[in-house]
């Protein structure tokens, strides 16, 4: 089995029903995507597959079609993704464990809808749990990112 993660090709020898999350974390040491619940309840494991937000805990690696981008592939410290920039600016994170997933979800939302309403933001982000309660800042950061995307 071969998969492409953040532009790198990998050869794998694992059960095809292993969720992508565990392939990334334990086999490839790509640890940005987090294990939170394993049952599509928290969003901490979110990645992009061909640009679409996907819960990697729900994606058997054998069924994977397309290129995987994880948070590590979104931006670099020198060239942050606009969403990451907004997250830094608003200082969203507390423990930060949920934030990879929040950022990947927000990036997918803004890709599709660069100017979401409050209700659209709430709706899109409703699958991403934050136990630390950073929701007010997430909301502001999504709007900050949206504004700078529209400026660019």
């Amino acid at each position: 089995m071969k998969i492409t993660v953040n532009g790198n090709r990998h050869e794998l020898d694992v059960s095809p029903d292993m969720p992508l999350l565990w392939v990334l974390r334990d086999e490839l040491n790509v640890t940005g995507p987090k294990y939170g619940c394993g049952v599509a309840q928290c969003g901490a494991c979110m990645v992009h597959v061909d640009g679409e937000a996907v819960l990697s805990c729900q994606m058997p690696v054998g069924d994977l079609e397309g290129e995987v981008i994880t948070i590590e592939g979104l931006g670099t410290p020198e060239a942050l993704h606009v969403v990451q920039q907004a997250w830094v600016e608003q200082q969203v994170a507390q423990c930060g464990y949920c934030q990879s997933g929040q950022i990947m979800q927000a990036a997918a939302l803004l890709q599709e809808n660069p100017d979401p309403s409050d209700a659209e933001i709430d709706e899109a982000m409703s699958g991403n749990l934050c136990r630390c309660g950073t929701y007010p800042r997430i909301r502001t950061a999504v709007k900050t990112a949206s504004a700078s995307m529209r400026r660019a």
């Binding site: 619940c37 930060g96 749990l129 136990r131 309660g133």
Partner: protein, 746 residues
């Protein structure tokens, strides 16, 4: 027990001596410190001036020993050192350091002393000093109880100042320029002729210089950092997905594991069948542990899958099997036999209750799971010479003892590498998962084993917040609250938690009553009695511990009486408040929220005030009763911590605390059936999600005489403020958490 008593007596002597000698409480005692742990393993070219500063020819390292579980204390500790050391963010590295009694927590005593936080009289302060001495003698390092800021505030600035002055002395000896002519900034000493010596260049010279031990701290007017917005040191990594948590750690040659133990917590394992599991892909070994089994595999998911395939025969729970029995036990504990402490008895409650028509109510607060996003995990490697542990934990010495107890090493042979924690809320005070990880590692000697809980195991084995029940009776007269008689029955969380660490603390459990009796109101007749119910399910400290339950009971009942009196909920609380700092908090929240303004007919507002961890906190919640249920629209929080270190992080923590308090009050509980928690994953305990999150406005006041932590205090007032708001909007009084048992939420 004998041991503790010996220590207490010694502590009292030391405590009295300190008081007599006028040594200020909480100040790092330069003349009687523990040895500096950094000095023990100093590499060539390194120099250290105290347990928090390490410099070599290449870099400055600041030791930030408090565990960071999201509250931002790594950054906060570094900022306090950097403020006096004259070094900027980006010019140094940080490390959690090795466990050491030198990092004993100077602020833990404040919460442990059985006095109102607002009481700063001689007796209360003397008791705090005595307890602090005990904490010091025991060398208790730990993070919890919102103590990281108060513990660090003075001693870390002193550490920075001592290092700075010693570096200046070294520069003076090196250059012949007198110390008085030297200045410092940006991690360097500056000479009057414009030359600059970086601290790293001075490391060698400074190691020979006499350390400067007496320093004056700068006046607040000179601060560069404290009180001003900072960018937390971890914010970039946490926005890039590169922050490594314990669950992300990797050690050469590591294997993966998971455990399953009796979901009837503390119950035995009668037998198991792992034949099918053994043959599953990736499985390396299946080994027994206390009350359960561990699967060792080449990958966490293989371990999870195989653990699911094991058949178990679990024994019964050592506590009542059904939730109803837990409540019945509490209900039967309101008797003299169970009286734990009479915390307050102002005026003459009996007489006052006889005078008017008494109002009575009963309240409940359920078991609640911590359920932080990062499930419990640890890497342990056991060799003959030592044990190494990689995990995020709040109590290094508890960890060392727990692991050593399994492996047979001395606690000092347990090397602990602390890690960033993906949320705790009290979960990472516990050591059971470490015992399990060590039990697996002992059976895989030499091999590092990373043990990870599944989310389901994490829910099943969360030691939740304790349940409690409140019974209140009161009277009103002439439009005023006249009498409150509050009784609370709960199992002792301190007894349960400390018991697991092999300790049995003497005296009453302050957490049964915390958040109720200590609110500085002057209700003319006020009695508060706490009853200790027999132990039930094992319980643990949950963010703000006793105050979310007892605070909910007290403030809700006060609200009921105020409504019965026909008074305004804000005005009557302000009238009753006898503590200036607290009154200003109420006045601030009234002003922020424009209390008393116009609302739609289906809207309502509630206010609540709870003092916890020394922080008076008032919250106003505004709700709308919609056709889809209750919607929380806006929340205002005012509180007083004496001094805010970083206003940005402060606001984030207060907002998060309000979300935490509201979300759990809305829909979270752990209930037992057949001895097992019925809630297995987040779909059973959602708390708040984004669409339910209100706008939250925060105001931090700085009138209090002592600096306080903000991790926990915003949690307790959230639930009563919400219940009071729902009452205002609908006329329905909710006396039981979670409120979803009685109303729907949008």
């Amino acid at each position: 027990m004998g041991r503790v008593r010996t220590f207490s007596r010694r502590a009292f002597l030391v405590g009295s001596a300190s008081i007599a000698g006028g040594v200020a409480f909480g100040v790092f005692k330069v003349n009687t410190p523990y040895p500096n742990p950094l000095a023990e393993n100093l590499a060539d070219g390194e120099v250290t001036f105290n347990p928090w500063v390490l410099i070599d020819g290449n870099k400055v390292t600041l030791i930030t020993p408090h565990a960071d579980k999201g509250q931002g204390v790594m950054s906060m500790q570094a900022a306090l050192i950097a403020e006096e050391l004259d070094i900027e963010f980006g010019q140094f590295e940080t490390s959690f350091g090795d466990p050491s009694p030198a990092y004993w927590n100077t602020a833990m005593a404040d919460e442990a002393a059985p006095f109102m936080a607002t009481d700063q009289g001689r007796t209360a302060e003397a008791a705090r000093t005595v307890i602090a001495s005990l904490v010091k003698l025991l060398g208790m390092q730990g993070t919890g109880g919102s103590t990281a800021v108060p513990d660090s505030y003075v001693k870390l600035r002193q550490a920075g100042a001592m290092a700075r002055e010693t570096l200046k002395r070294a520069a003076s000896e090196m250059t012949g320029v007198s110390v008085g002519q030297l200045t410092t900034s940006g991690g360097a000493v500056h000479l009057p002729d414009g030359r600059t010596l970086n601290y790293t260049e001075l490391a060698q010279a400074a190691s020979g210089a006499d350390p400067v031990l007496r320093v004056d701290l700068r006046a607040p007017s000179e601060w560069r950092m404290i009180g001003k917005p900072m960018q937390r040191l971890d914010i970039l990594a946490k926005s890039m997905g590169t922050q490594a948590y314990g669950i992300d750690a990797r050690v050469e040659g590591m294997v993966h594991a998971t455990v399953k133990t009796n979901p009837r917590q503390g119950g035995m394992l009668n037998g198991y069948d792992a034949e099918a599991a053994k043959a599953m892909p990736g499985v390396l070994k299946i080994v027994p542990i206390s009350n359960g089994v561990a699967v060792v595999a080449s990958n966490t998911w293989y371990a999870f899958q195989a653990a699911e395939a094991i058949g178990f025969d679990w024994g019964p729970a050592p506590y009542p099997a059904g939730q109803d029995q837990h409540w019945e036990t509490l209900s039967a504990s309101f008797s003299d036999k169970h009286l734990d402490s009479n915390w307050r008895d102002d005026g003459d409650v009996e007489a006052a209750l006889g005078r008017g028509e008494a109002i009575s109510a009963e309240y409940r607060s359920p078991y609640v799971a911590h359920a932080p996003m990062e499930p419990l995990n640890a890497i342990v490697r056991v060799t003959d010479a030592m044990v190494e542990v990689w995990t995020g934990h709040q109590m290094p010495t508890v960890l060392q003892r727990a692991v050593a107890g399994v492996t047979g090493h001395k606690p000092s042979q347990v090397r602990f590498h602390n890690a960033f924690i993906g949320g705790s809320f009290g979960h990472r005070l516990e050591a059971e998962y470490l015992v399990q990880a060590a039990q697996v590692a002992v059976q895989m000697k030499g091999v590092p084993v990373k043990m990870t809980y599944s989310r389901e195991e994490d829910f099943a084995h969360d030691f939740p917040r304790h349940i409690s029940m409140g019974r209140a009776t009161g009277t009103v007269a002439g439009g005023r609250v006249e009498a409150i008689d509050l009784q609370i029955a709960a199992p002792s969380v301190v007894q349960s938690q400390m018991g697991r660490a092999g300790l049995s603390p003497p005296g009453p459990d302050p957490q049964i009553a915390a958040g109720s009796w200590n609110n500085p109101y002057a209700v003319p007749n006020f009695r508060m009695r706490a009853y200790r119910a027999p132990p039930l399910a094992p319980v643990s400290s949950w963010r703000s511990v006793g105050a979310p339950g007892a605070g909910f009971f007290f403030d809700s009942f006060l609200d009921e009486l105020i409504h019965a009196a026909g008074a305004d909920p804000m005005a009557e609380r302000i009238r009753l408040m006898r503590h200036d700092v607290s009154r200003k908090v109420l006045e601030a929240v009234a002003e922020m929220s424009s209390w008393g303004g116009e609302l739609a007919p289906n809207q309502g507002r509630g206010v609540a005030f709870v003092e916890s961890f020394g922080v008076p906190t008032a919250e106003v919640v505004e709700v709308t009763d919609t056709e889809h249920g209750i919607r929380i629209d806006r929340v205002w929080v005012a509180c007083d911590v004496g001094q805010i270190v970083d206003p940005v992080n402060f606001e984030n923590l207060v907002q998060g605390g309000a979300v935490f308090g509201l979300g759990h009050a809305m829909n979270c509980e752990i209930t037992y059936s057949d001895g097992m928690a019925e809630q297995v994953n987040y779909f059973d305990a959602e708390a708040m999600r984004m669409p339910q999150c209100p706008e939250i406005f925060v105001k931090g006041l700085e009138n209090g005489p002592k600096i306080r932590g903000i991790g926990e205090p915003p949690v307790p007032p959230a639930a009563p403020a919400l219940a009071n708001a729902i009452f205002a909007a609908t006329g329905q009084r909710i006396r039981e958490m979670p409120f979803s048992r009685h109303v729907g939420f949008v």
